[in-house]
Amino acid sequence: MDFTTKDVNLKPDRPTTLLIEKHSDYLAKYGTNKDDYEYCMTEYLRMSGIYWSLTAMELMGESHRMPKEEIISFISTCQNKESGGISASFPHDPHILYTLSAVQVLTMYDRLDAIDVDGVVEFIKSLQQEDGSFFGDKWGETDTRFTFCAVMCLSLLQRLDAINVDKAVQFVLSCMNFDGGFGSKPGSESHAGLIYCCVGTLSICKKLDALKVDDLAWWLCERQLPSGGLNGRPEKLPDLCYSWWVMSSLTMLNRIHWVDNAKLEEFILACQDAETGGFSDRPGDIPDPFHTLFGLAGLSLLGNSDLIKPVNPTYCMPQETITRLKLEPQILKKV
């Protein structure tokens, strides 16, 4: 039997206020040294890295510190002429994960003209399967993450009609579990990250009512541990990124008050690196852009800071972008 404590202790000397300037500096500096080891070794996910950094910067109102034109022309080079899909970086292969990241970035910049949009639509369309699911690329891996990527991407392009939305929804619902949650494919265990993907898909397709709302929301609020942090599955350690996966889902379900917001805020703030800026997965770990975005986005959902702009819980993009596109993803009515 496992008797180890599955939580962390917050130290008295932890950061307790938002170090916004430090985070802006951290992200502005990230990637300026092209020979940095960490930077080079993460080339295979570069496009998502750009999305994490830019979105975080947008939420702080600091996106002017990002090299906009360089990013836009980088994205152009990453689109595959043949398939229309976009890769993480040139000359890697196109994949739906990075296609979404690229479209999100260009949407925030309002520069979709930099890519062949019809090509992207064709690429995504080609990945839908008979059962409604989506491959990540032509090699056939299936995952509910890819369904969310497809649906989100096409909705940002105002082209949802290109795929069979009903079938995509049916596939997602076929992944529902005894606890009301979702995993990566039918039969897979519930996981907060994949729950976000599935709830997000239903939010975009306006089918949230098909959920077992109370079961799911209870499971989600039980992710909160005494430290205030959230884990992604029962009996796991807390991790800052679940502040996003869990809280965005609870926001879409209109049950955000089922967790202790103040305690969570304390945990999120404790994950800041007071020296370098940036957020890490747990207090005292090395920060990265991924957790920096989800820390800031989590704080935005909690809504107590004027320094962070409102984030859209479905898209994980600034609400002002989603409003500009006139998108209205569903949020459940409170009853």
Partner: protein, 528 residues
């Protein structure tokens, strides 16, 4: 990046490490350059296989490199002898195994394994199943391994019972294995459905599982895994969707369902009759969604006599609901309702036994959240009416001892109190709704059940503006009181035909906003 602790190092050590990294980086960059160059030149050969293998051995997540390997293997498969090809595939499996040792959560490596086994003509599924069992010994919660196991099982199709027994084995080894409980839940309903009673799980197995989960929960009450499974078992009863109330007036016809239903269900399974003649019309969701609990029937029919509704239930039964003529033009049909869970007799007996054990455990540890919550859920499930007071008291205690989830318990108090009153209200023909319990409500659960009411009194509660959209259920309401609540804005107030609205005593509501609201709703008398 997950779980990398930041360590303080001396400047010297830092410099040494950086030098080491730059060396590594140089080799890495060179290899990547060579790989992409060879690919561009279409040199899909053994050398490229070797190069990509080397890089992947320490970086298993570089997805493009796996793609390149598949391209090479596909070409080789066209010309190689079967034995040689078989060796290549084995080598590929070895590589994935090596990569999974470095990163057991590498999506790419797991997928490559799946690809090899579905591509080669001589897969050995026994070995794969063994590999899963071995990996689950290292990490019993790795969901990739469990997913892979399910993939292997879908291919080699061992008896489902074997897999069920595997979860028993894993759980007896360690009850704190949520992954195993999860897998078990899937097979339980498939192996042992209750064919006679139409319940999800056959009685004796339902009972057996309840016993098993209780011994797990009692072994370590602080471990959460088993409690979720138990909560599911308690909810594993028939919960058929039904029509709860419908209203027909010359201006509006509405039908409320016990749970959200989608357009196709309403279109194909709900029928309204006037003098035994089917009425034609269109169904529209009350809030404009595909799923809704309240639907509006758009029709030109003028109704003056007997009205009836029929709803085809999930199990094929027909719910026939006559109506009562409330006044000259208003017909209301109400179903008899119950929130009681319909367990079989043996299961109820088991629940009572377990309730007793829980009470004993609670006497020893009155502050254990899980024991108290379980006791409370048992009480509610066994006889919500009888134990209502005790249930509420427990929930109030839970708000204190499990403070993190106080909001959840508050909502449960409202929901279960509303349910308690609803059953009484539905026994009368009144068109008035007023909260009749002391607990102040903070939300409006089951509000569609009151969609037929004309006079709705929600005064002196703790409702804030977030509940306003739910008022859209009050399609037949004439007077509504929200006096003495916590409204802060009327921003999301839905379009309704209310004649009188009382907003007094909402101290944070701005006068300007109410004035504007008055202007926009001239047909309504607003008291503020």
């Amino acid at each position: 990046m997950h779980g990398r602790v930041k360590v303080r190092t001396t400047e010297e050590e830092k410099a040494r490490k950086e030098k080491e990294r730059q060396e590594k980086l140089k080799i890495f960059k060179h290899a990547m350059q060579k790989i992409f160059h060879k690919r561009k030149e279409s040199e899909l050969d053994k050398e490229l296989l070797e190069l990509t293998g080397k890089v992947l051995s320490s970086n298993p997540d570089i997805y493009t490199l796996w793609n390149i390997r598949r391209e090479i293997l596909i070409i080789f498969a066209k010309t190689y002898e079967s034995e040689e090809l078989s060796q290549l595939y084995d080598a590929e499996l070895n590589l994935t195994e090596y990569c999974l040792k470095i990163n057991p959560k590498s999506y790419c490596a797991w997928h490559q394994r799946e690809w090899v086994l579905t591509t080669r003509t001589d897969p050995n599924w026994e070995i794969e199943l063994g590999l899963c069992s071995k990996y689950l010994k290292f990490d019993e919660r790795n969901f990739h391994t469990w997913d892979y196991r399910r993939f292997v099982v879908s291919q080699c199709k061992p008896p489902l019972k074997d897999e069920f027994d595997f979860t028993t084995e894993k759980l007896l080894d360690n009850f704190s294995n949520y992954s195993a409980w999860h897998y078990r839940s899937k097979m339980l309903v498939e192996l042992f459905p209750d064919l006679e009673g139409g319940r999800p799980i056959e009685d004796s197995h339902h009972k057996h599982e309840l016993k098993m989960v209780q011994s797990a929960a009692f072994t370590d009450p602080d471990d959460t895994s088993a409690w979720f499974y138990q909560r599911w078992l308690l909810g594993a009863v028939r919960m058929d969707v039904q029509v709860v109330v419908y209203v027909m007036t010359p201006s509006k016809t509405t039908v409320a369902f016990s749970k959200p239903v989608d357009q196709s269900v309403v279109d194909s399974r709900t029928r309204l009759f006037h003098n035994n003649e089917l009425l034609n019309g269109e169904w529209q969701s009350c809030s404009g969604n595909h799923y809704d609990v309240l639907w509006i029937f758009k029709s030109n029919a003028v109704v003056s006599e007997e009205v009836k509704l029929e709803f085809q239930m999930e199990d094929g039964h027909l719910q026939a609901l006559p109506s009562i003529k409330m006044n000259e033009t208003k017909y209301v049909g109400k179903s008899s309702i119950s929130f009681k869970r319909k367990y079989s007799k043996p299961v109820v007996e088991e629940l009572n036994n377990q309730l007793e054990s829980c009470r004993q455990l609670l006497a020893m540890e009155p502050d254990n959240k899980w024991t108290l919550l379980t006791t409370t859920v048992f009480l509610h499930c066994i006889d919500a009416k009888k134990y209502h007071k005790e249930v509420l008291e427990n929930l109030r205690t839970l708000k204190v001892i499990d403070k993190l989830r106080a909001g959840y318990y508050s909502d449960l108090i409202t929901q279960w109190s509303v349910e308690d009153q609803l059953v009484t209200d539905y026994a009368t023909d009144s068109l008035d709704y007023k909260i009749k319990f002391d607990e102040k409500i903070i939300s409006l659960p089951h509000f569609q059940y009151y969609s037929h009411c004309e006079n709705v009194d929600l005064s002196n509660q703790d409702l804030d503006s977030s509940v306003l959209p739910a008022l859209v259920m009050l399609q037949h309401c004439k007077t509504l009181s929200l006096e003495n609540n916590k409204l802060t804005t009327l921003n999301k107030f839905p379009q309704l035909n209310i004649e009188e609205l009382n907003l007094r005593g909402n101290k944070r509501l701005l006068v300007e906003e109410v004035e504007q609201f008055k202007k926009n709703n001239k047909n309504c008398t607003i008291i503020f």
